[in-house]
Symmetry: C2
Subunit: 403 residues, 2 copies
């Protein structure tokens, strides 16, 4: 908690407040309320895990019914695997906030993150809601980014700004996530907001476009969470003209800013992966299809043998080669496969490159950040996946998480 205050830009029309509800942690904030200006548009993507959490079910329902006015987020308890009681608890939490603000229950979107399978202590949330409301401020982002953390070691928050016809548009986002990270549709709680005014269909398109190469292309441990959610809010408070054309320069500028914010938050999540000491990009080129490229990239990124070699800074490239070979690429011609660590070619035509030296491989692997690149020699599709190493600390964190 001694991290420097992360830099950010407030988003006109969006206020955040944090409070300590004592859900699991006793010495920190664990509850966040985000208030949206009237007329704010909201796009969202959620986990595809079949066991999605109660708040995911309720948030989806509410989002289909009306435009939300508040987001209510707790850490320390995921309210997942909790059946009908969990759904009731999620709705009760919304009811407490709705009563305090005089709005409808379905104008609140609930989100939870933490331990799976334990009952959500709704009363503690209800008691803490007034404190969170009192704290509401457009400068509440850093406190909120801290309050949603679980095994995260740093808050994740970033901003972009661009100008359109002399008017500034701001995009600010925060995310949490460190373990159970292999988002499939979205990641463990990310909230991005802008003051631009965007048509709902376009806002969803902007979000999905931003999520694909960022949150949907990272993995810490391959475990897709039950609670993943990513929300993009557009308050519309900006004096810029409304965006209603996907071909407009303004929409492209917005997509680019949202994309950059999502990518920076996604990188921050992997860099803060449980026990991670390195951030590694796995890039697969020359695949016959995107699906094939992703399969090879994730097979490398999930291999415990590759991940422990990354941790050891050991250019044990046979493990990368073995991962490519077992990725299930039908008819792979190994003689066409090349593998690089940054610019160092380690495998050419399917076997060790003649000019490769262990020392050269080692010098790349000793860096904090580098790229493993595989060329399959089958086509022109590419993909990138961000991952981290597997360290002693990962085992310690996950063997001790509940105790």
């Amino acid at each position: 908690m001694n991290n420097p205050e992360p830099e950010f830009l407030p988003v006109p029309g969006i206020r955040l407040g944090a409070a300590a509800a004592g859900i699991k942690y006793t010495d920190r904030n664990d509850l966040v309320v985000i208030e949206l200006a009237e007329g704010t548009d909201c796009a969202a993507v959620f986990t595809r895990n079949a066991f999605c959490a109660a708040p995911v079910v309720v948030a989806r329902e509410h989002l289909q019914a009306v435009a939300p006015r508040y987001l209510l987020i707790n850490s320390g308890n995921a309210n997942a695997g909790t059946g009908g009681d969990g759904l009731r608890a999620a709705r009760e939490a919304c009811r407490a906030l709705a009563a305090a603000r005089g709005c409808a229950i379905n104008q609140i979107l609930p989100f939870s993150t933490g331990v799976i399978g334990e009952a959500l202590p709704v009363n503690r949330i209800a008691v803490a809601v007034p404190e969170a409301l009192t704290a509401l401020s457009d400068r509440g982002w850093p406190a909120a980014a801290r309050a949603i953390m679980t095994t995260d070691t740093v808050p994740k928050l970033c901003s972009r700004q661009f100008e359109y016809q002399g008017q500034r548009v701001t995009v600010t986002g925060m995310a949490k996530g460190s373990g159970m990270i292999r988002p499939d549709m979205a990641t463990m709680l990310a909230y991005v907001a802008t003051d631009a005014r965007v048509e709902p269909g376009l806002l969803q398109a902007c979000l999905e476009q931003a999520v694909a190469p960022s949150f949907n292309s990272i993995t810490v441990d391959g475990d897709t969470s039950t609670n993943d959610a990513c929300v993009l809010l557009a308050s519309g408070v900006s004096p810029c003209p409304p965006i209603n054309d996907s071909g407009s320069a303004l929409f492209k500028d917005l997509c680019s800013a949202v994309g950059e914010v999502c990518m920076e938050l996604a990188r921050a999540i992997v860099r803060d992966g449980e026990g991670a000491t390195k951030l590694v990009e796995v890039r697969v080129d020359q695949a016959a299809s995107l699906e094939e490229a992703r399969r090879v990239a994730y097979t490398i990124a999930h291999s415990p043998l590759v991940k422990t070699a990354l941790f050891a800074s050991d250019p044990n490239w046979g493990r990368i080669l073995a991962a490519v070979g077992r990725a299930g690429v039908e008819g792979l011609v190994v003689e066409r496969v090349g593998i690089w660590l940054d610019d160092i070619c380690i495998v050419r035509h399917g076997s060790r490159a003649a000019d490769y030296t262990e020392a050269a491989g080692q010098s790349v692997m000793e860096q904090d950040t580098f790229t493993i690149r595989v060329a399959l020699g089958r086509g022109d599709q590419s993909t990138r996946v961000l991952t981290c190493d597997l360290s002693h600390e990962y085992v310690r964190i996950n063997a001790e998480y509940r105790t």
Copy 2:
């Protein structure tokens, strides 16, 4: 190496000899020759990793050409990812043994296990071959089982015997494997021999039947090796009648004995998985298809979050539930899902069972061996997969393996 001498029964017609070639290890045997009586039938299955090792390519070639007389196995170097040089090295090693015994090169099947991507020191193998030949004995199994070890901590060797019309038939097998274990077709070097006489087609059927629920249903780290191979030898020296009918009682007895030997060796591999402290069976019932059952079982068995919880004896069942949810089962109705730890029901109708207590879950998880059972409520297909936990020791072993 201070393990007690494993028990075994010699197989008439099969002799084994070990020697120290100094390929990587300097203080132990690392080379094995297995001599097969004339007329021995040989069935084999190999890795499906596209980057299969040079000895796998050569062994497949030789096996198609003629009946083998010798198996030549080294540990400490996998001769994988070595391209054309690797193929030449594998053939050179065979040539050294063929010259010493006056047989054809393609009557030798080569096998290698160890580090990927380094040149095989053929000269050292050639120098040590005479020592291995001098050691040939039908009692050579324990020395051979030790010589093929890499990160294994115990030799893996077991036997079965049955009687047919007053005549004994013996089945003895050995295996090595501890890491890079997620066999796909066969596992990291397993050799099973019998003195029964079996028609080639039936011998292959017997092997494939035995391998499916044993070596092909285990995982330590999800990494399918480049060198996996499982060989079943039938010397035909037994006085029992030849087996040429798949419906015969003798064939069924043999399949059952071979199946038991493979299962015991497979369990021994998982129990000796790198850093493993527990042996856990993941059983999936009520799946709509076998493929779906296997996908769910492996998703659980590979989850680092589940595996670290197993290590910690922590009944953090939310991680199991999350793994089931992300296994990609189309249209899974979570309300029909049940999860058990041995006989303790933890999840019923998709959420925490009312009668479940943490203490009950803990008491199962504290055992060395137990079963995680998932019922999907979709059909009548079942599968079982054996796996182990993920410990500090796993990371230490794999971060230090080459140093």
